[in-house]
Symmetry: C2
Subunit: 229 residues, 2 copies
């Protein structure tokens, strides 16, 4: 079972997700290696805050490299581990931040497992952009408005065209197009840019819709834009 | 406080949402009049299943007419009611299906309240399309794929162009463009259409990705498409 943890605030997990986690024999959790060599796992932090026992949590490492070949090897490894535990009759959960079907790298694991005929299921969760909209207390999309979601890579021209086209826009990982986005913020005077950092991480959340403030910041990995008409 | 209830399965509410509802003095809930004259409220059904007391639930009617003027009067009325209760010191919740900031008509109430300087906040929830993706166990968007969300009105030509452009697409209320969508399903052989009805409603859920099955159905109000590359 792939369990969505929601955007980071432990209380934003669903009842269904928490119920399953409480009954799982083992919970696999993604972790990354920080530049300083520390193992970090937001998912594990959420699970511990929810009162789940550390002894049932098993970390797997996800390399953050742009070159995905190392990541693919890592997903293969964890899939083999899951397969073994599954054949031993364990009740297995794989945790994922946000929603596990919405820009989640757990699809690699799903794909590996289904090749080997291991059945998978998923429990839905709150995606990060939905939590950002709630934090800013804006209605991201209303009535007949369309919404365009961009994972991160976008040129200045493309972004301007899409804003002019009229839909609301979410940019998920704007650090990948920082320069282009900042140029659009400067050039489009009458458009509102809602900018978020680290939503769901206690004491680290940041939100602004003030253009100069946004332009002066360096976008971290966990940042997000909602651009409204 | 605007509390998102999630897509319909009571267990898909967040812990945060449920906690707030349990402490609220009054929970305002949208309801509609069915053609047979019965008052129906999915939100109220969810609240009752979650064990909340009926005595704290207050229904307000939302006319489903295409002409929004009656709806606007209705939202004004409920906003005045909320304002009065707020000034009496009540802890007020307004319930909304899905996420209350994502194609939710609660924005009318929010707008009315903010004009009168009544502060509002929101608790995020799981949108319907996220629950549909989990039900079908598909990864709606992966890696660098873009996602286009269309509230319901689309022409055959526009939909075909967007599919060819390459992003994944969600259509929220396809009953508004049933004929156009069916033509696209017939014309685009190599595209997968995931079709859902009544997701989150017990014993009424329907899911198919079989083209002929989909074309033969009449799309009800609570239907949804996810179109993947």
């Amino acid at each position: 079972m792939f369990v969505s943890l929601g955007p980071g605030d432990p209380e934003l997990i669903t009842l269904k997700g928490l119920n399953f986690l409480q009954q799982a024999d083992i919970i696999f959790c993604p972790s990354t290696l920080t530049p300083s060599g520390k193992v970090s796992s937001r998912s594990k932090d959420i699970l511990l805050e929810l009162g789940l026992e550390e002894s049932r949590i098993s970390l797997f490492s996800v390399p953050m490299d742009k070159n995905r070949s190392e990541a693919i090897i890592s997903y293969k490894k964890i899939s083999t581990k899951i397969e073994k535990r599954y054949k031993n009759g364990s009740r297995i959960a794989v945790a994922a931040e946000g929603d596990a079907g919405f820009y989640s790298s757990t699809h690699y694991i799903c794909d590996n497992l289904s090749v080997n005929n291991i059945p998978t299921k998923r429990i839905a969760g709150v995606p990060a952009f939905i939590a950002c909209g709630a934090l800013a207390n804006i209605h991201t999309v209303k009535q007949e408005e369309e919404l365009y979601i961009i994972p991160g890579v976008i040129t200045q021209k493309d972004l301007e065209e899409r804003i002019l086209y009229g839909s609301s826009i979410v940019i998920m990982k704007p650090s990948q197009s920082e320069e282009a986005i900042k140029k659009v913020i400067s050039s489009m005077q009458y458009v509102t840019f809602h900018y978020f950092e680290n939503v769901g991480i206690k004491d680290k959340e940041f939100y602004s819709s003030h253009k100069q403030n946004i332009i002066e910041r360096k976008f971290p990995y966990f940042s997000l834009f909602i651009i409204c008409k």
